[in-house]
C-alpha cells in the first residue's frame, strides 16, 4: 500500500508542479509509514522523480496518450492505484488534472478534496486544510472514504529534495475505444511564454491602463521579469485582453511568488483569485484603492510614468546581477 501521485509531463518533460506533488506525496507517505509511487505518462526521464522522494515510477509509453484525454488519463491513474493498492492519491491543480480528478473520484468511489494548501493535519482520521470561499477562508476537511484523493494547490507546498533512487517500471494500462469518446481537434497554446498557472511572477493590468494599446509596457515588464501577463475582469470583458488572462474569482487563480497589479482597484472578486500569491505589488494613482490593503509593497503613482521607469531599472538590475 503506497501513496500514488500523478506527475504531469509535457513533451516528455515533467512540469514544475510534478516536483511539487511528488514532494507532497513523499511527505504523506512518511506520515503513513509507507513509500510513494508515481504514475507518469510518456515521461522521458522518469527516474528524475527519485530526487523528490519517489521510490517507484510506473511509466506509461502510449502514443494514444500523447495528447491529454481526461477520461483515458483518469483510467490510467485508476488502474495504477489498483495495482499499487493505493489508498491515497495525490494530484496537482493544473487545468488538466482538475479535469480528470472528478472522473477518477467517481470511478474509485473516492473522497476528493481539492485546493489543499498543506500536508495532512492528521492521517487517522485523514484531515487536510484547503481554501474555501474563493480564498476568503480555510476548511479542515476530513476524508472518510477508503480511497482518498488530495488535490494540492499550486505553489502551496513547494518542492523539497529528498534524494532516493526511483525504480522505473513500465506500465501498460488497459484502454478501449470507450476511453476516447472525446477527441482533441485543436490546441491553441502560447508557446515559449510563461503561463499564469506555472509562472513565478505575474504582471497584471486593470482598467486603469485605459486601453489595449497601452499593453506594450505590461508585456515588456513581463518579459524583463520572465513573467506571465494577466488582467482584471473588465479588461477581458472589454476585449482588451483574451479571456484566458482574466484572474480572480470568476477567472483564473494565481499562486505566484510575485504578483504585480497595475491600475487594478483590488475589488474583492479580483483579490479572491490572487490572494494565494506570496508577494503583491500595487501601482495605482488612487491611494484609497482597496488593493493597497492587500498588498505588500505599493507605489501611489501613474502607471504611465512608473512602469517605463520600472522597466529601465529592472533591466539595469538584471544586467548587474546576470
Amino acid at each position: 500500500m503506497s501513496v500514488l501521485v500523478y506527475t504531469e509531463s509535457e513533451n516528455g518533460k515533467f512540469k514544475k508542479n510534478a516536483h511539487e506533488v511528488a514532494s507532497y506525496a513523499y511527505e504523506v507517505a512518511k506520515q503513513l509509514g509507507t513509500t510513494a509511487t508515481a504514475i507518469a505518462i510518456n515521461a522521458s526521464k522518469a527516474e528524475e522523480l527519485g530526487d523528490f522522494g519517489i521510490s517507484k515510477v510506473l511509466n506509461v509509453s502510449n502514443d494514444q496518450l500523447k495528447t491529454f484525454n481526461a477520461k483515458a488519463f483518469a483510467q490510467v491513474i485508476g488502474q495504477a492505484a489498483e495495482k499499487e493498492t493505493a489508498k491515497v492519491i495525490i494530484l496537482s491543480s493544473s487545468a488538466d488534472t482538475k479535469f480528470l480528478a472528478p472522473i477518477l473520484t467517481a470511478q474509485l468511489k473516492a473522497g476528493y478534496v481539492p485546493n489543499v494548501v498543506s500536508a495532512p493535519e492528521s492521517t487517522s482520521p485523514f484531515k487536510v486544510k484547503r481554501t474555501v470561499f474563493s480564498n476568503k477562508g480555510f476548511a479542515i476537511t476530513e476524508i472518510s472514504s477508503e480511497i482518498k484523493i488530495v488535490g494540492v494547490s499550486n505553489n502551496a507546498f513547494g518542492s523539497a529534495e529528498n534524494k532516493t533512487t526511483a525504480a522505473v517500471e513500465s506500465f501498460e494500462p488497459n484502454l478501449g475505444d470507450d476511453s476516447f469518446t472525446s477527441k482533441s481537434i485543436e490546441i491553441d497554446k502560447v508557446v515559449g511564454k510563461a503561463t499564469i498557472a506555472d509562472a513565478d511572477i505575474v504582471v497584471s493590468g486593470g482598467r486603469g491602463l485605459k486601453g489595449p494599446e497601452n499593453w506594450g509596457m505590461i508585456e515588456e515588464l513581463a518579459e524583463v521579469l520572465g513573467a506571465a501577463t494577466a488582467c482584471s475582469k473588465p479588461v477581458s470583458d472589454l476585449g482588451w485582453r483574451p479571456h484566458g488572462e482574466h484572474v480572480g474569482q470568476t477567472g483564473k487563480p494565481v499562486a505566484s511568488n510575485l504578483y504585480i497589479a497595475i491600475g487594478i482597484s483590488g475589488a474583492i472578486q479580483h483579490l479572491a483569485g490572487v490572494s494565494s500569491s506570496k508577494v503583491k505589488v500595487v501601482i495605482n494613482t488612487d491611494p484609497e484603492a482597496p488593493f493597497f490593503k492587500a498588498a505588500d509593497y505599493g507605489i501611489v503613482g501613474d502607471a504611465f510614468e512608473v512602469v517605463p521607469k520600472l522597466i529601465e531599472k529592472l533591466k539595469e538590475f538584471k544586467a548587474q546581477n546576470a
Binding site: G137, I140, S184, I187, H243, L258, V281, K309
Partner: protein
C-alpha cells in the same frame, strides 16, 4: 433537445465570510444568496439554445427551501421547469449522486453545470455526475456548439485553449466565455410573473453517503501593512523585492 442546468446557490461575491458554532459552520447571517456566477453563464447559454435551436430547459438544485428565490430567478430568466432536491448539499459527491437521479429520470441530452461553485470551490460535481452516468464531459468550457448529435466544445487549458469534438449526451463544467458578460439577463416583470406559474418540483434525496466533511473553518491571518515606496524611488522597490521579499 432537453437541457438541464445545475444551479448552485452561493453567497453573493461581496459577502463577508464568517464562521459560527466554534468555527464549525458558515455564518449565513446577513448573507445574500445568488445563482453561482459560473452557472449563470451556463443558464444564459441554455437560453440561447432554447431560442435559436429549440430546447426545453430545466434547472435543478440540491438545497433546502431557502434556495427557492435563486431557483425562481432562473425561472424568471426563462427556464421552463425547476427541480429542487430537498437536502443540505453536504459534499460534491453527494450532490452529484442526487443530480444523477434527476438526469436519469429526465433523459436530458445536455447537462450544463458550472466549473466550480464559488463557496466551497470543489469543482467536482459536473465530472462526477458525467462519470456516474457514463456521459461525455468537458470541463472549463468556454464555448459550445451543437449540430445534431455532434458537439464542439472549447475548454480553457493552462496557457491557451483546446477544441474538443464529442457527442451528446454531454455534460459541461462551464464558465465565462460560454456567453459574454453583457449577455447575462436580469429578470423583467413579465418573467417574474410567469415564473410564479412554472413548476417547481421538490423531490427527496436518494440515500447516499458523503465522503468528506468540513470539521473546522479558519480565516486567513490579517494582512500586515503595505510598505509604500515613493514613485521617484524605483530603486528602493527593486531593493525590497530583491533583498527583503527575495522574489527577484
Amino acid at each position: 433537445m432537453k437541457i438541464l442546468v445545475c444551479l448552485s446557490n452561493v453567497p453573493d461575491t461581496t459577502s463577508k465570510i464568517n464562521f459560527t458554532d466554534g468555527d464549525t459552520k458558515f455564518d449565513t447571517n446577513g448573507v445574500q444568496f445568488v445563482i453561482n456566477p459560473n452557472d449563470e453563464f451556463g443558464l444564459t447559454r441554455a437560453m440561447w439554445f432554447k431560442e435559436k435551436q429549440g430546447a426545453t430547459v430545466h434547472v435543478a438544485t440540491v438545497g433546502e427551501a431557502s434556495t427557492e428565490p435563486t431557483i425562481r430567478k432562473a425561472l424568471a430568466i426563462g427556464a421552463d421547469e425547476a427541480i429542487r432536491v430537498n437536502a443540505v448539499p453536504v459534499d460534491g459527491f453527494f450532490v452529484a449522486e442526487q443530480l444523477a437521479e434527476i438526469v436519469k429520470n429526465g433523459e436530458y441530452d445536455l447537462v450544463i453545470a458550472g466549473r466550480e461553485s464559488i463557496d466551497y470551490n470543489g469543482g467536482m460535481v459536473p465530472g462526477i455526475l458525467a462519470t456516474l452516468l457514463g456521459m461525455n464531459f468537458v470541463n472549463t468550457c468556454i464555448s459550445l456548439e451543437i449540430d445534431g448529435n455532434n458537439t464542439t466544445a472549447t475548454r480553457e487549458i493552462d496557457g491557451g485553449k483546446e477544441k474538443i469534438a464529442t457527442t451528446l449526451p454531454l455534460i459541461i463544467g462551464g464558465q465565462k466565455g460560454l456567453v459574454a458578460e453583457s449577455d447575462l439577463r436580469i429578470p423583467n416583470m413579465r418573467g417574474i410573473m410567469m415564473a410564479r406559474q412554472k413548476k417547481l418540483n421538490v423531490v427527496e434525496p436518494t440515500s447516499s453517503n458523503s465522503a468528506t466533511a468540513d470539521v473546522k473553518f479558519e480565516k486567513p491571518e490579517p494582512k500586515g501593512k503595505v510598505t509604500l515606496v515613493d514613485a521617484d524611488n524605483i530603486d528602493e522597490l527593486i531593493n525590497l523585492l530583491h533583498n527583503e521579499a527575495k522574489v527577484i
